[in-house]
């Protein structure tokens, strides 16, 4: 297998593996940049996957080919509403944000499975009939060499996730809203003195993270799992959280980290078919993504520093 063929078989899977992680990690960046730790990303993804699948199953006949797109929008809205629980607990009531996040994880999974049993009378849903499908991107897939690697047999949603990361970077670093968001996460008191409502900013940030988490979960469900059960989202939320930290709480960094995870995972699976790597015992390939992550964290990215006020509830007037 030549190098080009290798890229051709590694990159498209890496992109579809990464997309849900990118969405969710961007949500995590928003929340944590505003100073609210969000362990609940996993739960938000579960909620998104559940809503996405149920909506898709229910409305597939009515909406036809548009079903998956509408499904992810609905999943975003519901997860955003769901994340308000986390916002209320950790911002208004100043609860321990880790505990609140864990509660979100429990609640989402419990609720999802409970409702699945109520709606369908069994522990898992049927497979959806209108998932996302891969396509060749118009015009771009005709580019020699690069076309087949990046634009053939690709989920459009993968590119939307990358574009969204750029948009998030712009919002966070080039707009007043982004400045306020970061200020609230670095030094809430200073922001407060300047007339920024810490509570409002943090609410908005957590709700955005809910929407993105729901988006990530529903995209995962509609591209990879195709149904909802207790085993649909198992750890992807935590991987996204790792991508947030790995990416130094920066939207583009988080995107890069998520792509890196996808690439490593894809390589570890596809490596089994590469002559050079075929003789390596499979267990080494299976652990490769995690080893690569540790190496990258330890060696290449330098110190990863959290927003100053991350995890601390803001109490007006305290110092």
């Amino acid at each position: 297998m030549g190098f080009i063929e290798l890229l051709q078989s590694v990159i498209p899977p890496a992109l579809f593996f990464s997309a849900p992680l990118i969405f969710t990690a961007l949500g995590g960046v928003f929340s944590e940049r505003s100073g609210v730790v969000n362990i609940g990303l996993e739960g938000l993804m579960v909620m998104g996957a559940f809503v996405g699948i149920v909506f898709n199953l229910t409305f597939a006949d009515v909406l036809g080919a548009w079903t998956p797109w509408v499904s992810i929008l609905v999943a975003m809205v519901v997860s955003a509403i769901f994340s308000i629980i986390h916002a209320v607990a950790s911002v208004s009531f100043r609860a321990d944000q880790v505990v609140s996040g864990v509660a979100i994880n429990f609640l989402a999974l419990g609720l999802g499975i409970f409702l699945t049993k109520q709606f369908y009378g069994k522990g898992q849903t049927d497979m959806v009939t209108q998932p996302f499908y891969t396509t060749d991107i118009w015009l771009l897939s005709d580019i020699p060499v690069l076309g087949p690697i990046f634009f053939e047999g690709i989920y459009v949603i993968s590119y939307i996730s990358i574009i969204l990361a750029l948009v998030c970077w712009y919002i966070m670093y080039k707009t007043p809203f982004g400045l306020r968001l970061r200020a609230v996460g670095e030094h809430p008191m200073a922001a407060d003195t300047n007339g920024i409502s810490v509570t409002k900013m943090r609410y908005v940030a957590v709700i955005i993270s809910g929407a993105f988490g729901g988006l990530g979960g529903s995209v995962f469900a509609l591209t990879i799992a195709l149904n909802f059960s207790h085993a649909t989202i198992v750890g992807q939320g935590f991987m996204a959280l790792a991508a947030v930290i790995f990416g130094k709480w920066h939207p583009l960094g988080a995107m890069g980290a998520a792509l890196f995870f996808g690439f490593a995972q894809s390589l570890s699976v596809i490596g089994a078919g590469i002559p050079l790597l075929a003789d390596v015992p499979q267990v080494f390939l299976l652990i490769a993504p995690y080893v690569l992550t540790i190496l990258a964290l330890a060696g290449f990215i330098g110190r990863s520093e959290a927003p100053r006020a991350n995890g601390e509830p803001y109490i007006k007037g305290s110092r």
């Binding site: 078989s9 609640l107 998932p131 198992v234 499979q282």
Partner: protein, 399 residues
């Protein structure tokens, strides 16, 4: 404005004001603290309750029925059979459902009704296994099935406590004089799927996606490879294990690679990770309707999972007939020939293993004929299907 500036601002502008504020608000904060602890206790317990009570109604329902009717029937019918599900529940479209269907069929055959002669008890989690068993035994069920290897410990325990009752466990082996262990000859069924795949392939390349590299899944692998090579020794089988039974993403990645490398039929025995294989096959089919691409399902008929538009990518499935085994063992018990202490292997001979023929478009007459021929050969003992990789090697050398 940058952070340093922010920090400076507070230093001189707000000292006095905020100190004042702290003193004033201290009381309020403490009150709020108590409130949120309460809120949290509530939230957490709500989550746990919801997680625990998924489908909980079923259980209470069956509980009552079981007890009411069980007691009223006490001693009247000569042989009562019960079953305890694992966490999947009685409608899991898999083992539990199949076992329950078998039990219902058996009951109807002998003129019994649910709660009077046969019944099930649903387990919501591990801690329910033993209590459910105990309840059925107390209600005079002579034979109790444990469905799935998860109930191994519970069966071992209860069989020791009730040496006069009969028990049976599906898919694993419990060594006790009053326990019948029901196992399946997965290698034989896999052999036949291998034959079907070899007949179907145009590229002479097949794929096998396993869950965890273990003795059980190696049985599937060896049988499948042996079946394919029996038809055409030149066929290549691409084998890869996911490493778990739950990661659909990894299943999809593996399937992507295999289909890219030219495999056109993939047999999966990877549980939920196999969903990823279906997802990828359907995606490729959607892109190019003429591409011949198939998945072979496992444990039950996975025809529904393969539906895509007017097509279906499920070539066939290797079906474990838990229902047949339940009927068989119940009948033996009824006739006083309960196979206690034995390890029963249900295979092709007693219809304990089957091949789904639901996809009539893909599973052609020709394939069916070939599969049936090999089936006869296995039944006659002409072909001995390998169960391990070593046996497979020997088998291939003989070809």
């Amino acid at each position: 404005m940058n952070y340093e500036a922010f920090r400076e601002v507070i230093v001189y502008e707000n000292c006095e004001h905020y100190i004042q504020n702290i003193i004033e608000k201290q009381g309020v904060t403490m009150l709020k603290n108590r409130k949120f602890i309460l809120l949290f206790a509530l939230l957490l317990s709500l989550g746990l309750v919801l997680a625990a009570c998924g489908g909980g109604e079923d259980q209470s329902g069956s509980d009552n029925e079981g007890e009411d009717e069980g007691t009223s029937e006490e001693g009247s019918s000569e042989y009562n059979v019960g079953m305890v599900t694992d966490e999947g529940g009685v409608d899991d479209k898999s083992f539990n459902q199949s076992a329950w269907e078998g039990l219902q069929a058996w009951g109807e055959e002998h003129g019994l009704s649910k709660g009077a002669g046969f019944d099930y008890a649903q387990s919501e989690d591990e801690s329910d296994y033993l209590p459910n068993m105990t309840r059925l035994v107390r209600n005079d069920y002579d034979l109790v099935f444990g469905i799935g290897f998860l109930l191994e410990d519970a069966i071992t325990e209860i069989a020791k406590q009730n040496p006069d009752n009969d028990f049976a466990i599906v898919d694993t082996v419990v060594e006790a004089p009053n326990v019948a262990s029901i196992t399946f000859a997965e290698h034989e069924g896999s052999f036949l799927t291998g034959v079907a795949a070899a007949m179907k392939t145009n590229t002479d390349k097949l794929g096998f996606v396993g869950g965890v590299d273990s003795a059980l899944i190696n049985k599937f692998e060896s049988g499948f490879v042996a079946g394919a090579k029996s038809v055409n020794p030149d066929i290549e089988v691409d084998i890869q294990y996911v490493g778990n039974f739950s990661s659909a993403a990894d299943g999809k990645l593996i399937a992507t690679r295999m289909y890219n490398d030219g495999a056109d039929v993939i047999y999966h025995s990877a549980g939920a990770a196999g969903n990823g294989v279906f997802a990828q096959a359907k995606d490729l089919k959607q892109k190019d309707e003429d591409r011949e691409i198939y998945v072979i399902g496992v444990d039950r008929d996975q025809y529904e999972e393969g539906a895509i538009g007017d097509h279906n990518v499920t070539l066939t499935s290797m079906v474990k007939r838990v229902d047949t085994s339940v009927i068989e063992v119940s009948n033996q018990g009824l006739n006083g020939e309960f196979p206690g202490g034995e390890v029963l292997v249900f295979g092709l001979e007693d219809e304990g293993i089957g091949i789904a023929e639901t996809n009539e478009e893909a599973y052609t007459e020709e394939i069916a004929t070939a599969v049936n021929e090999w089936k006869e050969k296995i039944k006659n003992g002409d072909v001995k299907v390998p169960q391990t990789r070593d046996e497979l090697k020997a088998f291939e050398e003989e070809l």
